[in-house]
């Protein structure tokens, strides 16, 4: 049975990845996880200079989920290349560098520097972080700006270019269309959903930045609907993300139209969630007598009579 797939000529050994910001730079968990069993690792976001991130409190647990406001704390692209990439190069899995920036120029500079390095197999562009003042969501909710960033980065690399989209817009498919038009190879759907929590004793927001990004099983239904919306409207490979904790969740995303999935928040509970799902997905495929796990992609059966989807999609 075929497990893998490819994007822009880059082969991935299976369809289960770990999401940016939920797995560090891989070496933090190498004693707990067989990293070589993953389809690939999306690194913690990288910016040109190191970022301290937001003041505490950065994390609040909510019903079947969590809010975060990390603020893209990261070591910066130079330290990444010097200190973390050598380890990642030793792995038999694909490394996708996630890039976050506060200007088009910074996106381009980070990508160009990474493009000179061996061992970086592609890029995921974070235009959708809800927790920073500059860049982040102000780019990701502006379709023209998202397209402009995509075009600029497309001109700088021949490696796979994946744009991570925010669910915090009315029609996410328009954004997928726009980035496809500018040469993006795939989209990641979805980044976190804006949310907040309040401490009723102090009448203050629990997060230092008031609002943050909601993730975990709580957002899985939202994520599935967004993946389905994009898959119905645009012919572009989708990495499905949002609350995946077990194999059945991954299968749902594939059925909705994702070609692959990223495991996110579940890594905080068990960093081996991705490899466990990868193994279980393979067993599932054999049980279902599939020749290719890819047969699941977009295999959702919708009864047309009962579908109210087309009216709003």
């Amino acid at each position: 049975m075929k497990n893998g797939f490819s994007i822009r000529g880059v082969d991935f050994q299976n369809r289960v990845f770990v999401a940016s910001g939920t797995f560090g730079y891989g070496d933090e968990v190498k004693h707990l996880v067989d990293l070589n069993k993953l389809g690939g690792i999306f690194t913690k976001s990288l910016s040109w200079k190191p970022r301290d991130g937001n003041p505490p409190r950065r994390i609040v647990e909510t019903a079947s989920g969590m809010l975060n406001s990390i603020g893209l704390a990261n070591i910066g692209v130079h330290t990444f290349i010097e200190k973390r990439l050598p380890f990642l190069r030793t792995l038999k899995t694909r490394i996708i560098a996630n890039i976050a920036a506060s200007s088009i120029r910074e996106y381009g500079d980070v990508l160009s520097l990474l493009d000179e390095q061996e061992g970086v197999d592609g890029y995921e562009i974070n235009v959708s972080c809800p927790n920073v003042k500059e860049g982040g969501l102000s780019f990701g909710t502006d379709c023209a700006m998202t397209a402009k960033i995509t075009a600029e980065l497309r001109s700088k690399t021949s490696r796979p270019l994946i744009i991570k989209l925010t669910p915090n817009v009315t029609h996410i498919a328009e954004f997928a269309k726009a980035v496809k038009g500018e040469g993006a190879d795939a989209v990641s759907v979805i980044n976190t959903v804006i949310g907040m929590a309040i401490d009723v004793k102090s009448r203050k927001p629990k997060l230092s930045t008031v609002t943050g990004g909601l993730s975990g099983p709580a957002i899985k239904p939202i994520a599935l609907a967004k993946v389905f919306e994009v898959a119905q409207s645009v012919d572009i490979p989708i990495f499905g993300i949002g609350g995946i904790t077990r194999m059945e969740d991954a299968v749902e995303f594939l059925m909705a139209g994702a070609v692959a999935v990223q495991v996110g928040t579940a890594n905080f509970v068990d960093p081996a969630t991705g490899t466990t799902i990868a193994e279980a997905l393979e067993s599932y495929g054999r049980q279902q007598k599939l020749n290719d796990i890819g047969e699941l992609v977009g295999s959702l059966i919708v009864d047309k009579k009962s579908s109210v989807l087309q009216s709003w999609m």
């Binding site: 933090e28 707990l32 301290d52 991130g53 505490p56 950065r58 994390i59 647990e61 989920g65 068990d270």
Partner: protein, 257 residues
């Protein structure tokens, strides 16, 4: 560091509102150092979703003990565990207290549930030949936890036992009357207490390590959720989970919580 399902052997009430939970893990029992913690998944479900961090309070053979109060859904589930139930444990985690210095007199200061790491700390300090005094602050006599501690001095908020006041005032009074040398302070407790103690230790020129709590998701440095502000240096924040929970008090800036 391991991640494993382990068997709970005992849950019992040890003071007003406080319980111990004991589980079996030869690996964690063998490798845990004082001040380190374990991150516990209380059930397999998704609500509550995240692990809960707990200081290891004592190790006995293959048995590992933690101390907790019921403060929410996670600890409520833990309190209902019965011998034979399983929990999933990740640990031991974090930077332990520095117990190997030149000092001869260890002064342990604990407020409330901050007593958690003091039993294992006492055992290791005694094995190194250090003299241990323990200053415990509790809300009342009913809230005191004194098991496996040495030379205990008590302060209670309501004056129902020992010194009427807090543990920081208690150790200050003690040092006034007993001007001992070659001292190192080890502390754990509420932020307000640690702030007051740090200020005192710095002004008195005493070496002092404090153990912090932080809201964290992973416990291993990947979520970046538990920053504490550092003094100087290139990085503004340290992570409580991997650069702590034990810090030298002059290295960090505590915020009012």
């Amino acid at each position: 560091m391991i991640i494993a399902d382990v068997v709970v052997t005992d849950v019992r009430i040890v003071a007003e509102g406080t319980r111990t939970l004991t589980f079996v893990s030869p690996e964690i029992a063998l490798s845990t150092l004082p001040g380190q913690f374990v991150n516990i998944r209380v059930h397999a479900g998704s609500d509550p979703l995240l692990r809960r961090p707990f200081s290891v309070s004592r190790v006995d053979g293959n048995h590992v003990e933690i101390l907790f109060n019921i403060v929410g859904a996670g600890t409520d589930i833990l309190a209902k565990k019965k011998p034979g139930d399983m929990i999933n444990v990740l640990g031991p985690l974090g930077v332990p207290y520095g117990i190997k210095g030149e000092f001869k007199n260890a002064l342990l200061v604990a407020g409330g549930l901050g007593v958690a790491p003091m039993a294992i700390l006492t055992e290791h300090l005694k094995a190194l030949g250090k003299h241990v005094d323990t200053f415990l602050g509790a809300r009342s006599a009913l809230h005191l936890i004194v098991d496996h501690l040495e030379n205990i001095h008590v302060a209670t908020d309501d004056g129902s036992k020992g010194f009427h006041g807090n543990a920081v005032r208690l150790i200050q009074e003690y040092l006034k009357e007993h001007p001992i040398k070659e001292v190192k302070i080890f502390a754990c407790g509420p932020t307000r207490m640690l702030k007051a103690l740090s200020a005192f230790a710095i002004s008195a020129g005493l070496e002092c390590e404090i153990s912090l709590e932080g809201e964290m998701a992973c416990g291993i440095g990947i979520c970046q959720g538990c920053p504490v502000e550092r003094v100087g240096g290139q990085k503004k924040y340290a992570l409580v989970c991997t650069e702590g929970p034990a810090f030298h008090c002059q290295d960090i800036i505590l915020q009012d919580s």
